[in-house]
């Protein structure tokens, strides 16, 4: 059974068909990319998968459960982690607190009573887990810095670390490289690879940067005009003339 299964998703806005019968699967532990030219419907599909948009037809299953009527926090608890294209960090909190909050959310803490009997203070184990993720992401030096004073690249890594600490089965990343420079993008690619390798997390990456996609993903979906143009192992897909024509307008 695939981890994530989208079955013939269709979505139209008014008369415009944004998605037409799109299928998409992600197997456990797999690193999958989703690319396509601007306006191909990547974000629409992503939002349909996350339940932010309601598809007109088709359904999305995650670990065998229908996601469509589930609020975002419930989906997160099921093991669906995500990051955002526009930052959604907790302004005013330090990096360490971001990780702590995510860690506690995963362990279903948050009872008022626990706080009152003094269980609110971070334990040594929690600190260790936060530091481990900080090390994985190269944020060790910045753990006690308020997230507001971080660069965009680091803030994106914080979002990623926050998602990683919830120990998701699938990480969905919405253009994690947007706004980053080359070095930061490569750093992001490295981190994603190690998350997938060390933690066995499946990753679905929506990305503009073909270079990064070719580096990290093993399988690729290509969307064009709301239809799935191609799927298969990344190198073959990228090398295919049809894909290249669709993506870069290259007729040669």
């Amino acid at each position: 059974m695939p981890l994530l299964a989208a079955e013939s998703i269709s979505k139209h806005f008014g008369g415009i068909a944004a998605l037409v019968g799109v299928d998409l699967n992600v197997e456990p532990g797999e690193f999958v990319g989703l690319v396509g030219p601007n306006g191909a419907g990547k974000t629409t599909l992503f939002n349909c998968l996350l339940g932010i948009l309601k598809p007109n037809r088709g359904r999305v299953f995650f670990r065998g459960r229908d996601l469509s009527r589930m609020p975002m926090h419930a989906r997160a608890r099921l093991g669906l982690g995500r990051t955002f294209q526009r930052l959604e960090v907790f302004s005013g909190m330090t990096v360490r607190d971001h990780f702590l909050v995510a860690d506690r959310s995963r362990r279903k803490k948050g009872g008022l009573f626990g706080d009152l009997v003094g269980q609110g203070t971070p334990t040594r184990r929690e600190d260790a887990r936060a530091e481990a993720v900080g090390e994985l992401l190269g944020l060790t030096e910045l753990l006690d810095v308020p997230v507001d004073s971080l660069s965009l690249g680091h803030a994106r890594l914080v979002e990623l670390g926050r998602a990683v600490l919830t120990e998701p089965k699938l990480l969905m990343l919405d253009e994690p490289s947007s706004g980053l420079d080359r070095v930061e993008t490569m750093e992001m690619a490295r981190v994603l690879q190690s998350v997938q390798a060390e933690r066995g997390t499946a990753i679905l990456l929506v990305e503009h940067d073909l270079e990064m996609v070719s580096l990290v993903t093993s399988r690729l979906y290509v969307l064009e005009f709301g239809e799935m143009l191609a799927t298969g192992p990344t190198p073959q897909v990228l090398a295919h003339p049809v894909v290249r024509r669709a993506y870069v307008g290259d007729v040669a």
């Binding site: 959310s105 995963r106 090390e135 190198p235 870069v248």
Partner: protein
């Protein structure tokens, strides 16, 4: 002796939650039909009266929408602006005897726009890029400040007797055309409204300025890029809305027997309801909303039996009920994203209302803090009775204010119904004590639970409301409770109020003595403060921090925002409920206005200005609110309640610069000048900068320490790239070469060169 000291005589609170005002509005409600009583056609009278009342609502609502659209400020102060204009008009016409036209020109055409302009220039101009909550608090401050100034300077007690002047050529004249007859004041109201509406339509449709105003609504930044002075456009719209509000205020004045701020609170809420009906954007819908509300209120006062208690409460409170229902059920308000400005991102991010980063090691201060408290409490026991009584009041109030620390400071919700929670607790405990002899010690618990229940009651239906809409819902809720529920004999004991005993259980507990009661209150405050402190640094506090930072982000890691918010509401209401019981027990009675809307607003303002995030802020608020009026009285200042409103209202000007709260601001200033140096935000920022720009050590060194971010990151990449290129038969590389855009730099080798710089 103790009863001689009452902090809030009902008639004196600055916003005027006075029953007299609202009841006057209720009984005077049909007053529009004053001249109609002899006239045959009831329905026509109803329509005309409703139309006139609706016109006034619609006018002020138009002002609300105008300022909200052009400067993103939800201007609660418009009610105060309308009041000020009406007071000026009254003084000029009735007290100084100036001609009607001249009074009108000064009050509406000079004071109106100048007030709008002054508020914009001194306060709201700098608020475009701050969180909505800050703007809301500032508007709230002005809502309290303006009437307080007017009352303190010249319009205090006894200043306004006799019926306010109507904008008519001949007082009490009735114009009649066939079956239709219209009293002059209603006719002039309708005509003025038509004039304003036609003028606005012309402005927006046909003038350059109107076009600019519409553009500013979309994106002030974009408008500036187009070479238009967005600031000037905003200024003009504030002057315009000020004039419209002043006109509404002057037109409304003859309806009331006297001009009091509370009457204008009703006007404001009615206008807000109309504006919400128009979703804060559509002027036509807003007009329709205002008119409909006017009709509804007129019909209600005509056809509802006047003897039932419910009707008496409901009639003047109709705008509150309508606003509350609109907020809950009007589609399009829930989950609405506020900002659509495509250039919203260019401005620096706003500083948060409680944006201080958590102090990491505050446990070290626990021991000295405890010792200090014990010493101070012991010293207080030596004070003369009256002062100890006052300090007890301050402590009780501080306890109530800790409920703001939870709800506003931690959950980031600006609630204007904390007094309603406190009142629910107080009345619940008092009724139990009076009717069932339940000791007040048990009552403390019951009061807390009643408060909690009310907190849940308000939080559940308002879960989907964000920011300003939640605040408005709590305001409407407070007004409803204050006008309909609390005056009931079975709740608040009617006009006489309730006797509330001191905690006393013969043979077991005796806190009837002032000193013993003082100690009980200190203990209650200590427990509440400890709870707040533990929750704030615990999981719940951190989750609430996270939700405040980004609700979407919090949900994405599995935090249930609804659950966290309900928890905050419940805890806050529990604390407020217990505090309310203590407050009434301290006064040994309850009286009208103790838990009214006036105190709700004033409490919120004082606590937020001083610091909603910290326990210190709540303490400072409690002490200031109890002791400051005593100081004023001791200094022999007349009308101290009004002056108190002036001072707290002026605090808004400080708040604009220090949204983190005055207490923290003073603390920071002290720290900078006299304290031990601490790692400030600037220093943190500097460290980060160095960290980013520092050249990385060469790859050879970096390989030994896996933490070094970039070297470790760059290392494996070329390998992987090579592998990919190899398996793909050079596919990805060929892509880079064949790309129609500018040829991609051979980026794989690039990182090492960066690492070497």
């Amino acid at each position: 002796m103790s009863r001689a000291v009452s902090i809030w005589p009902a008639s004196a609170d600055p916003i005027g939650s006075t029953k007299s005002g609202l009841v006057a509005a209720g009984t005077a409600g049909p007053g529009w039909a004053r001249g109609n009583s002899k006239i045959v056609n009831d329905v026509v009278g109803l329509i005309v009266g409703g139309l006139a009342l609706g016109c006034v609502y619609a006018l002020v609502a138009t002002g609300v929408v105008l300022t909200y659209k052009t400067s993103a400020v939800f201007n609660l102060a418009l009610g105060a602006q309308a009041f000020t204009a009406a007071a000026v008009m009254y003084s000029l016409r009735n007290n100084l005897g100036l001609p009607l036209i001249l009074s009108f020109v000064v009050a509406v055409l000079i004071v109106g726009p100048l007030l709008g302009l002054g508020l914009y220039v001194t306060l709201f101009r700098r608020l475009r890029n701050v969180p909505e909550a800050v703007r809301l608090v500032v508007a709230l401050g002005v809502l309290i400040l303006l009437p307080a100034i007017v009352q303190a300077l010249w319009f205090g007690k006894g200043g306004n007797r006799g019926s306010p002047p109507a904008l008519v050529l001949e007082q009490d004249k009735v114009y009649a055309w066939g079956p239709v007859s219209i009293p002059a004041d209603q006719l002039s109201t309708i005509l003025f409204t038509i004039l304003v509406v036609v003028g606005l339509v012309a402005l927006f449709k046909y003038t350059n300025l109107g076009l600019q105003m519409r553009a500013v609504v979309e994106s002030p930044r974009m408008v500036q890029l187009a070479g238009i002075n967005a600031d000037r456009v905003s200024m003009i719209s504030w002057m315009l809305s000020g004039t419209i509000a002043a006109l509404g205020g002057v037109l409304l004045a003859p309806l009331f027997l006297s001009i009091t701020p509370s009457n204008y609170t009703i006007l404001l809420v009615a206008a807000i309801a109309a504006a919400v009906f128009g979703r804060l954007t559509s002027l036509p819908l807003t007009l329709v909303g205002g008119l409909a509300l006017g009709f509804l209120q007129q019909a209600l006062s005509r056809y509802l039996p006047s003897d039932s208690v419910l009707a008496q409460g409901l009639r003047p409170s109709l705008p509150f009920v309508v606003l509350f229902l609109l907020l809950l059920f009007w589609p399009g308000l829930r989950d609405r994203r506020e900002v659509t400005d495509p250039l919203a991102g260019v401005d620096p991010p706003a500083s948060s209302i409680a944006g201080t980063v958590r102090a990491s090691k505050d446990t070290s201060k626990v021991l000295p803090l405890t010792l200090g408290t014990v010493v101070i409490v012991a010293l207080c026991l030596l004070l003369p009775g009256i002062w100890m009584y006052r300090i007890t009041g301050a402590i009780v109030l501080s306890t109530i204010f800790l409920s703001f620390t939870v709800l506003t400071g931690m959950a980031g919700q600006i609630s204007l119904c904390q007094a309603a929670f406190a009142g629910a607790g107080a009345y619940g405990a008092a009724q139990l004590a009076n009717h069932f002899n339940v000791p007040i010690m048990v009552g403390l618990l019951v009061g807390g639970l009643v408060g909690l229940a009310v907190g849940m009651l308000i939080s559940l239906p308002t879960l989907g409301l964000r920011g300003i809409y939640l605040t408005l819902a709590t305001l409407a809720f407070t007004l409803m409770v204050d006008q309909i529920v609390f005056p009931l004999e079975q709740v608040g004991g009617g006009p006489a109020g309730l006797e509330v005993p001191r905690p006393y259980w013969s043979g077991f507990i005796d806190f009837s003595d002032d000193r013993a009661f003082f100690l009980l209150c200190v203990a209650a405050l200590a427990v509440a403060a400890l709870v707040v402190w533990l929750v704030r640094r615990g999981t719940t506090g951190r989750f609430l921090d996270a939700i405040r930072g980004s609700e979407t982000g919090a949900a994405s890691i599995g935090i249930n925002p609804s659950r966290a918010k309900i928890t905050a509401f419940a805890l806050s209401a529990l604390i407020a409920g217990v505090g309310g019981v203590l407050l009434s027990s301290w006064q040994q009675r309850t009286s009208a206005g103790d838990f009214g809307v006036g105190n709700s607003l004033l409490w919120a303002l004082v606590v937020i200005i001083l610091g909603a995030r910290t326990i210190k802020g709540a303490l400072a608020g409690g002490f200031l609110l109890v002791l400051f009026p005593e100081l004023l009285k001791a200094a022999g200042i007349p009308n101290p309640e009004a002056w108190q409103g002036v001072v707290f209202g002026l605090g808004t000007f400080v708040f604009v610069r220090h949204p983190e709260g005055l207490v923290d601001a003073i603390g920071g200033w002290y720290q900078r000048h006299f304290g031990r140096p601490e790692r400030t935000t600037e220093e943190v920022r500097r460290i980060v900068t160095i960290d980013l720009s520092e050249p990385e050590p060469p790859a050879g060194n970096g390989a030994s320490s896996p933490q070094a971010p970039y070297t470790a990151g760059v290392g494996p990449l070329p390998d992987t790239a090579g592998a990919v290129a190899g398996t793909a038969g050079g596919g990805s590389y060929r892509y880079a070469q064949a790309g129609s855009g500018p040829p991609q730099p051979p980026s794989m080798p690039a990182p090492p060169s960066f690492g070497g710089t």
